[in-house]
């Protein structure tokens, strides 16, 4: 098999420039003024209605000369109300813009391509061997493919759709999806059998069974996701919407009732003027939570975008938010906590056996063993004992493969019968041949297991030569990752097929909180169920088909992109980088989404305190001059006070767009510490900040003679 790229991987298009994004978003902001779209966001819809209403008031005042308030004042209020709506739309358009650019490049990868489909009655196994069988293939457009069809794909061709490799092995360029230019191996059977439409074969050939109808593939899901086209509101967003809508209603009542209150006050005191409708609308817009209302959608879109940036495809926003709540993380040991597979790290001879003899026998037994463990024995023999690889054919040796019955593998030559395998299997083997297992070997076996290794015993005929120590290599830096997860309140549980002694040793070395040894698919599922029954939210990462039931049961299930189709379908997220510690980032993004929402809501409501002190005295000072005492800021005039509040209210949306798109910084800290910090910054900050800002705007308005 050759891994030479047949064509250079298509580079991902560069991110569009900020200027282009901004320009596109500005246009989109105006287009979004359509009331049918605005009504999805009740808070901003109220602002739009208020803007339209003040516009009418202006037209009326300008036409009759005796309207609700001086026309110039109404015009300025009205203009800034329109800006408020536009700024909110702009924020949303900015967030969507980034996703759109990405979707466009993905869409290019999805264009219809010709596909070679096998006829239903074709002999599939012959396709690879027999060029003549391939002549009977039928060429169709990828759009015509249906689930269950079988395709033939060769080097240089693009995969027309998602599928599962049923025969062959090939190098595939998946850069169109993952952004990673190094080719990956896809082969039938095992956990690397899933292929994605839009990727390109770099070598060899594959026979692929189609796993998704057109439009339902992975790429389509990804495009929908980044475009936000099918974005439905998450439960959390809906709950926040309820809160924002109720705040809007209560402020609507509080301002609407001010009109009769004001009329009554004027009648009673016999002085001043009834508050104008313009001022009431201005007050309403200032009080309702426009800051969060205007940015809510942008926060959600930006959060999903951050997921895509992290190369994670989530099936729903709900899954992303649930990630923030996870408190237990189940990790498959192999490939996650440890490097790939176990490696031979030492050869421990039986007393009286020369180390080189053991090495020679171990190497011979492993030469034809293509498992990673087997290869690592050959490597160790070469590095430590200077033994070069030999060809079995030349030795006249016959390879004895591993079977579940014997649980040993090895070689038979004319004179020798070499075996390696688990201690008890080899014990039975040598006893059957009339030999005995020396007690010293038992001690070695025990010593290796206790240290977290896996012992393989090597026997030549009835003589036990020694023990191969296989060890898991714990990934560098993983311990620190787990410590960080612990600070975030997430417990890590390692899942492994190893025996409890080995598992405990590795768990201790990696720093996980708990482990499940000798795990079967049923045991994994049962563990998740019992954790959930205790009220935990469980996340799991996995890649194999045997992980699928557990993935389906977990609250947050991240499947590796290299994994099987079954695993990907069972999970609610796919990590394109196939990096199991990605969950840390996913949790962070989930939390960040919620924190940003909460922080801006708090900020928005806290802002209202200052606005009251600005607008209430301005609105009623003519009726009750004493209320001027509430004008803490000593603003220029009632008119400039109202305008300053409205302008601040509009500008703060623009000011907070970066926070909404980037998200509030997440720290690994206890909940109480996070809460105090965010309350201090966004709660107290939200109360204080508007005062100087409104005063500044008022000064500018007054000095410049605009009011």
């Amino acid at each position: 098999m050759s891994a030479e790229p047949a064509t250079a991987p298509a580079p991902r298009p560069a991110a569009p420039s900020l200027r282009a994004l901004t320009a596109a978003a500005a246009v989109e902001a105006v287009r979004k003024l359509d009331p049918r779209r605005m009504i999805r966001n009740p808070v901003m819809f109220v602002v739009e209605v208020g803007s339209a209403f003040t516009t009418l008031l202006f037209v009326h005042a300008a036409a009759t000369g005796a309207g609700d308030a001086p026309p110039a004042f109404i015009l300025m209020v009205s203009a800034w109300l329109w800006f408020t709506v536009l700024f909110a739309n702009f924020a949303e358009a900015m967030a969507e813009g980034r996703g759109k650019a990405q979707a466009d490049s993905l869409r290019r990868a999805r264009q219809a391509v010709p596909a070679r489909r096998a006829l239903p009655d074709a002999d599939l196994s012959a396709l690879g061997r027999d060029p003549a069988a391939r002549a009977a293939l039928q060429t169709v457009s990828s759009a015509a493919l249906r689930k269950g069809d079988v395709l033939w794909v060769e080097a240089g061709e693009q995969l027309p759709c998602d599928g599962e490799v049923i025969e062959g092995i090939a190098a595939v360029d998946e850069s169109a999806i993952t952004g990673e230019s190094a080719p990956v191996i896809r082969e039938s059977g095992g956990d690397r059998s899933a292929v994605t439409g839009g990727t390109r074969l770099l070598s060899d050939w594959l026979v692929v069974r189609v796993s998704a109808d057109p439009g339902g593939g992975f790429l389509d899901r990804m495009i929908q996701l980044v475009e936000g086209a099918r974005r439905t509101k998450t439960p959390n967003e809906l709950a926040l919407d309820v809160l924002l809508a109720s705040l809007t209603i209560i402020f609507l009542l509080a301002t609407a009732t001010l009109l009769p209150f004001s009329q009554f006050a004027v009648a009673q005191s016999g002085q001043g003027e009834v508050v104008s409708l313009t001022v009431l609308v201005a007050l309403l817009v200032c009080l309702i939570p426009t800051t969060i209302g205007g940015l809510l959608s942008a926060i959600g879109v930006a959060g999903m975008d951050r997921m895509v940036q992290a190369n994670v495809i989530a099936t729903s926003g709900r899954a992303v938010e649930a990630a923030g709540d996870v408190d237990i993380l189940l990790l498959d040991k192999t490939g996650t906590i440890t490097l790939g597979n176990r490696q031979a790290t030492a050869l421990l001879p039986t007393p009286g056996v020369r180390p080189d003899d053991l090495a020679e026998a171990a190497q011979l037994a492993s030469l034809a063993d293509e498992t990673p463990e087997g290869r690592s024995v050959v490597v160790l023999a070469k590095e430590r004992h200077g033994l070069r690889g030999r060809a079995l054919d030349e030795l006249g040796a016959r390879f004895v493969p591993f079977t579940a019955q014997t649980r040993m593998s090895g070689v038979d030559t004319a004179t020798r019968q070499i075996r390696k395998g688990a201690a008890d299997a080899v014990r039975r083997h040598v006893q059957a041949l009339g030999g005995v297992m020396p007690p010293a070997v038992d001690a070695l076996v025990d010593q290796v297991a206790r240290a977290g290794g896996t012992p393989l015993v090597v026997a030549d005929g009835a003589a036990v030569l020694g023990v191969i120590q296989l060890q898991d290599i714990v990934k560098g830096g993983i311990r620190e990752r787990f410590a960080e997860l612990r600070r975030m309140g997430i417990r890590t549980v390692m899942i492994t097929g190893d025996n409890p002694v080995t598992a405990a040793a590795i768990a201790a070395e990696a720093g996980v909180d708990d482990f499940l040894a000798e795990a079967t698919p049923e045991a994994k599922l049962a563990m998740i169920r019992s954790l959930q029954a205790e009220g935990h939210l469980v996340a799991m990462t996995g890649d194999g088909t045997n992980d699928a039931p557990a993935l389906a049961q977990a609250d947050v299930a991240v499947a590796m992109n290299t994994g099987t189709q079954a695993a990907k379908e069972a999970g609610n997220m796919v990590d394109l980088d196939s990096n199991p510690t990605k969950l840390l980032r996913i949790v962070e993004i989930g939390k960040q989404l919620l924190i940003t929402r909460g922080a801006l809501t708090t900020f928005s409501v806290a802002n209202d305190v200052a606005k009251y002190f600005v607008i209430i005295p301005a609105a009623f000072v003519s009726t009750y001059p004493a209320l001027g005492a509430l004008d803490l800021l000593q603003l220029g005039s009632p008119t400039s006070a109202v305008l300053s509040a409205v302008i601040f209210n509009a500008l703060i949306i623009i000011g907070l767009i970066p926070v909404a798109l980037r998200g509030v910084q997440v720290r690994a800290a206890p909940a109480a510490a996070l809460l105090s910090r965010n309350l201090l910054v966004f709660g107290l900050g939200g109360v204080i900040l508007p005062f100087p800002c409104i005063k500044l705007i008022d000064l500018i308005l007054t000095r410049s003679g605009l009011v």
Binding site: A239, L253, L259, F261, G590, Y624, A626, L630, V666, F682
Partner: protein, 578 residues
């Protein structure tokens, strides 16, 4: 305000808290899923009684059935009160020979007592016969309070349970609360009050000749007041036997009876918090809620005491001579000399906090700032202690709101006491919190537009506006406290305030029970290091801030046109010249 005054206030509150501990135990024993053995024995008795009445005491009710039973029972109570009032002329125990109550006032009173508001659009001794007071009104004092406490039980169970069980049985709860909590407590209190000189007789009014030669005779109204006064205070009812309520010398004759009544005003409202914690299985939660409430209560109390310790502006304007005499006494207008400023101020704040509408001084005569505190406590939704049962459940609704925001801010899916807060839950929370505020604002707005309401005002300007705002705040939040001044017996206000009371009661209880029902079906999430604890001072502070901010934001404009405008217009500040 002397140091002794402040000491008396502190001692009263301390004593109440000390007594609230055993009372909370009693309440918990009545509502808990796991009652102590003696309570178990009493339950056998209750259950037998209910079975005899054809009610299955073991039926585990879903929220709709629980709420339905409650509403039907309360409405039947209202109908009964209405009927007795209308027919009292033909019924016995009417020594004063009073005729039927005006239909509008009767409607108002029926809703008022069934809803635990006890707003009184009538003068007790001149309108209601002994039968009406003793049978109709007093029975609702018990039953409406028991209904409120039943809501506490249902909410506690909803929060605690996650094993498929539902909210419990309304009838069993109400019977148990009435028989084993309210009756013994009010019986004991009534005896103490009688010993303290509160009148209790069925002999009817007493005619007596005045000492001055030409003054003729006068009639002294009497009645079986002590029993009604006891439950009016314990059940956060507040409906006085006499028109001037506990300012009347026969209803509250001495500082001793005043102390007893003050304690009983806050007793169950404080105990309900602690009992809720016990029902949840985590007493710290109860203390946290009590702490949040106290954090709001004390500043308002301080403001009111400070404002009332000064002289009213009109008196201060008279100059140093008047000040020299009266300054140490503070603002005594509308207050009883036997209680003084401190005990009257404490009473005003305690009763408006606890949804107990009784008065021992006229709030209308408080200074602008002194009257602002009590009004605002009502506008917060009666959750600073609040009415029995419902005050706590209102505080839990605010806690849900705080937990929602706090959950977001720590990056967790929001949850309260281990149960997730989903969109439907938030809907119920905001409906329950929104309805009373909306009622108050709209009712007040409607009133200022109606001449029959503005004509009922005793004062012009912002003070008149305050009278209306106070009345609607009191009705919409089921307090029952009256500012005074306003004549509320006209058809418009009698009917309108009656509607407000109904919305303020059942418009809150129904969504609260729906929420409890939803919680009962939820899985309880395990607490972990990432969970935000709700028993900490931090969270209690956030709950208090949420209550404060919601209350302030909703009513600030209206308050600006009432008490704030009045306070700022009538002088720089209350005079504290010594």
């Amino acid at each position: 305000m002397t140091a002794l005054d402040l000491l008396s206030v502190a001692l009263t509150l301390g004593l109440t808290l000390a007594l609230a501990l055993p009372v909370a135990g009693l309440l918990t024993a009545a509502l808990s899923d796991d009652p102590p053995p003696w309570a178990r024995a009493l339950r056998t008795f209750d259950q037998g009684l209910l079975r005899r009445l054809g009610i299955d005491p073991d039926e585990d009710m879903g929220w709709a059935r629980y709420a339905g039973s409650l509403v039907v029972f309360n409405l039947l109570g209202a109908l009964f009160v209405y009927g007795v009032q209308r027919l009292q002329g033909a019924l016995p125990f009417n020594p004063a020979g009073l005729g039927p109550v005006d239909p509008f006032v009767a409607w108002n009173t029926a809703i008022s007592f069934a809803s635990n508001t006890n707003w009184q659009a009538y003068g007790g001794e001149t309108t209601m016969s002994d039968l009406t007071q003793g049978l109709a009104l007093t029975s609702q004092n018990f039953l409406s309070a028991a209904s409120g406490l039943a809501v506490l039980g249902a909410l506690g169970r909803g929060m605690r349970r996650s094993d498929g069980r539902r909210l419990g049985n309304y009838w069993a709860d109400t019977l148990r609360l009435t028989l084993w909590v309210l009756l013994p407590l009010s019986g004991a209190l009534a005896l103490l009050l009688v010993a303290g000189g509160v009148v209790s007789t069925l002999a009817g009014p007493l005619a007596h000749t005045l000492l001055e030669d030409d003054a003729g005779t006068r009639t002294l109204a009497r009645g079986a007041a002590a029993a009604q006064v006891a439950i009016k205070q314990l059940g956060t009812n507040g409906g006085g036997f006499f028109n001037v309520n506990s300012a009347h010398p026969l209803e509250n004759p001495s500082p001793w009876t005043n102390l007893l009544q003050l304690i009983s005003i806050l007793l169950l409202p404080m105990a309900q918090c602690l009992s809720f914690g016990a029902l949840l299985g985590d007493r710290r939660q109860g203390w946290a809620l009590l702490g949040a409430m106290t954090a709001l209560f004390l500043p308002v109390l301080a403001l009111t005491l400070w404002a009332e310790a000064g002289l009213p502006p009109a008196l201060a304007a008279l100059g140093p001579d008047a000040v020299a005499i009266d300054a140490p006494m503070g603002n005594l207008e509308g207050k009883e000399l036997r209680f003084g400023v401190a005990q009257s101020g404490l009473w005003a704040v305690a009763t408006t906090a606890a949804s107990n509408g009784s008065v021992n001084a006229m709030h209308d005569s408080f200074t602008a700032l002194g009257g602002l505190g009590p009004m605002w406590l009502m506008q917060l939704g009666e959750v600073v202690f609040g009415g029995v049962g419902v005050g706590l459940s209102g505080a839990v609704l605010y806690a849900a709101l705080a937990a929602f925001l706090a959950g977001l801010m720590v990056g967790r899916g929001p949850e309260l006491y281990g149960k997730a807060l989903l969109p439907r839950d938030m809907k119920l929370v905001v409906i329950a919190l929104l309805l009373p505020s909306a009622t108050v604002l709209m009712g007040t707005a409607l009133s200022v537009l109606r001449p029959e309401a503005t004509g009922a005002l005793a004062n012009p300007g912002p003070h008149g506006f305050s009278e209306l705002l106070y009345a609607w705040s009191s009705a919409g939040n089921n307090n029952g406290s009256a500012f005074g001044g306003l004549t509320a017996s006209g058809p418009f206000l009698a009917v309108g305030l009656g509607i407000a009371m109904a919305i303020g009661r059942w418009g809150v209880i129904i969504p609260t029970l729906a929420l409890a029902g939803a919680f009962a079906q939820k899985r309880r999430q395990a607490p972990g290091p990432g969970t935000l604890d709700t028993h900490t001072p931090l969270f209690a502070g956030l709950v208090a801030a949420t209550i404060l901010l919601m209350g302030a934001l909703t009513f600030l404009p209206a308050l600006a046109l009432g008490p704030a405008a009045e306070h700022l217009s009538t002088g720089p500040e209350v005079s504290h010249v010594r």
